[in-house]
């Protein structure tokens, strides 16, 4: 951790917050506090400078216009690149995941991404809308991913990144893989409050940020019930 408290930055809530993205900041903060860690959550608007010294950066989803504008501002600001160079954690969701790559499409135009992850996105033939599920990269030691996706993009991974998960339901990157990670950077198409259904993923980000090998377990009764219910719903839809 960079200071006395865990600093979480929610990047550009004025642009990149279309689908309840606030949830990820709320969930990380709560799970850290429940472990006795002091937490500071900073909401940084697109007309403000991005602090380069926070522990976790969250980049959420957005419509095409705001996504392109957000990428432009982040490139001009440079704060996120400095933070990554210093070892900060970045969690990108949907549009926020796409813009971490080298390029993406918004309003039919190819836009330059932040080039923090070795991947690029183009348009799929149809929009991917619905439940998304997958088996997460075993090296991360997490239970299966569950989420809801809603995007028109298809994402192609380069050799420098690993897929976050192998798709068992839904589309993700390309119907085979979903999301990507490298070092302490992680992106997913599981949109909006992705961590609500994946508390173990939230804890992974907290472990990356704090350097802790393990965190005390929490009471995840309701998340577990939600995960089970969604898993059954996906299975029932397939049967």
């Amino acid at each position: 951790m960079s200071s006395e408290s865990l600093r979480i930055v929610w990047i550009y809530p004025d642009l990149l917050s279309t689908y309840g993205d606030r949830g990820n900041a709320l969930i990380l903060a709560r799970r850290a506090r429940q472990r006795g860690m002091p937490v500071e959550v900073l909401e940084v608007r697109s007309d403000e400078r991005l602090p380069a010294t926070a522990d976790i950066y969250l980049v959420g989803g957005g419509e095409d216009g705001p996504q392109a504008l957000g990428a432009q501002r982040l490139l001009a600001d440079g704060g996120l690149h400095r933070a990554v160079a210093q070892g900060s954690v970045v969690f990108g969701v949907c549009a926020g995941y796409q813009l971490l790559g080298t390029s993406f499409f918004a309003k039919g135009v190819q836009c330059r991404g932040l080039e923090l992850l070795d991947l690029y996105s183009d348009r799929g033939e149809s929009r991917a809308v619905g439940e998304l599920a997958g088996e997460i990269d075993p090296r991360l030691g997490l239970p299966p991913l569950t989420g809801f996706e809603n995007h028109g993009g298809r994402t192609h991974l380069g050799p420098e990144v690993s897929p976050l998960a192998r798709v068992t339901a839904g589309v993700g990157n390309d119907s085979a893989t979903e999301g990507a990670w490298r070092g302490k950077l992680l992106g997913t198409y599981s949109h909006g409050p992705a961590l609500a259904r994946n508390p173990a993923l939230a804890d992974l980000l907290l472990r990356w940020a704090t350097g802790a090998h393990q965190l005390p377990p929490l009471d995840d009764t309701w998340s577990d019930r939600l995960r089970n219910e969604r898993r059954s719903a996906v299975a029932a839809a397939r049967a």
Partner: protein, 415 residues
């Protein structure tokens, strides 16, 4: 009316009556659907000869339609789709059922506004607001504003009553004219009803720059788009009209949001020549709207039903609800949208300190949300379990669309 339209209209009424008699529904959709199969132009035929107002937007359209019908009723009989059946089949049913009326006030789903403008050639269209709602299916909010704007370009003779507080609505309501071809921009009357929800309008729809806010004012930092001076304004417990006269509004519907809906209704009625002083007392006769705000007494509990479909309307529902035991019910069926992410756009903190019960298909999504929000709750399987879990007295029920309909059915389709 052409013979085909007469037949279609008659069959439509019969089907609606059958649907109601069979207990299958309100009959507010099926009749129109069948009528339109027989005569695709039926809605246009049924609209001819009536002075029509259309009411559209993400939130408040059912209630505003109801209040507007009451206000326009000063002048004569008004046909209206008061059950919230707001697509062309619902409009067709409503007009066929009403028979010949001089006026009609129709609630229109925002996706169908262009089509219904075309078919009904209304005198007035009221544009309430645009906010996120069912994003897994609905068009993105900015796209909707673009569709409205394009539709209004083709109907510059229609009078527009629009919300000055919503940048997307202001932009949609002010398409550029084309003086070379003799096309003037539409005539717009602006109202200000106060707006709690701002999260969908930080980016200018015209130029993509940031929108700044200060108090009730807003302006784009990159182009001339800014809040127009409203003609109708909510002030205290009443409404200021364009002449500066203040009218006290006594509603039976709760909350500041309904005062805003009343201001809109008075503004729309004024476009038909109704004086606010004549209309204002009629607004007070509206007690519930398609079950919304309805109160039912059962087992010693006074149950009040509040519908909340999206983040903006949840904020309004918390404002309306009493400090009493509260049941929240969430589904995610097709009409609700399949995605529950929006739960994190709602701050449930106002419910702390109240007895909170949760139910519905997606109660677990709500459970996780409330847990993160530090709002204690109890999960119940059925509406009856909820009733048994609260003491006698007021029970506030806040539910999204199909969850609301489920509970309404338990209470014998209260209207």
């Amino acid at each position: 009316m052409p013979l085909r339209a007469k037949v279609a209209s008659s069959v439509s009424r019969t089907a609606a009556a059958l649907s109601r008699a069979a207990g299958r529904g309100d009959g507010s959709v099926i009749g129109g659907w069948i009528g339109l199969k027989i005569d695709p132009d039926l809605l246009a035929h049924l609209s001819a000869g009536r002075a029509i107002a259309l009411v559209s937007g993400t939130n408040g359209k059912t209630t505003t339609t109801r209040l507007t019908s009451a206000a326009v009723g000063v002048l004569g009989r008004v046909a209206t789709n008061s059950f919230g059946a707001n697509m062309p089949s619902g409009h067709t049913s409503a007009l066929a059922k009403a028979g010949s009326t001089p006026y009609a006030v129709l609630e229109v789903d925002e996706h169908y506004l262009a089509q219904v403008l075309e078919a009904t050639e209304p005198h007035v269209v009221a544009l309430l607001n645009l906010s996120r709602d069912q994003l897994d299916r609905a068009k993105e909010v900015a796209m909707m504003a673009q569709l409205w704007r394009a539709a209004l370009v083709r109907h510059t003779d229609v009078r527009v009553v629009a919300n000055a507080d919503d940048p997307l609505v202001v932009w949609a309501a002010t398409p550029p004219g084309d003086p070379a071809r003799g096309i003037n921009p539409p005539h717009v009357t602006w109202f200000s009803a106060g707006q709690r929800w701002h999260d969908d309008s930080w980016v200018c729809p015209e130029c993509g720059s940031t929108i700044q806010r200060s108090g009730e004012q807003w302006w784009c930092t990159g182009c001339p788009l800014r809040r127009p001076e409203p003609h109708w304004v909510v002030e205290d417990e009443g409404v200021l009209d364009p002449t500066g006269a203040w009218h006290k509004v006594s509603l039976q519907l709760p909350g500041k949001v309904n005062l805003g809906n009343a201001a809109t209704a008075l503004a729309v009625a004024a476009e038909f020549g109704v004086r606010p002083v004549d209309a204002v007392s009629r607004l007070g006769i509206v007690t519930s709207v398609a079950g919304r705000y309805a109160q039912v007494d059962k087992d010693g509990r006074n149950i009040r039903l509040l519908l909340a479909k999206n983040p903006a309307s949840w904020l309004e529902a918390f404002d309306m609800a009493d400090d009493a035991p509260t049941l929240l019910s969430i589904n995610a069926r097709d009409p609700d949208g399949l995605d529950t992410s929006w739960l994190y756009d709602v701050d449930f903190a106002p419910l702390r300190g109240r007895q909170v019960l949760i139910t519905g298909d997606r109660a677990y999504d709500l459970a996780v949300r409330l847990d993160v929000n530090d709002v204690p709750f109890q999960h119940v399987r059925t509406f009856d379990d909820a009733l048994r879990s609260v003491p006698p007295g007021r029970l506030e029920v806040i539910a999204n669309y199909t969850a609301f309909q489920d509970i309404r059915a338990e209470l014998d389709r209260v209207i």
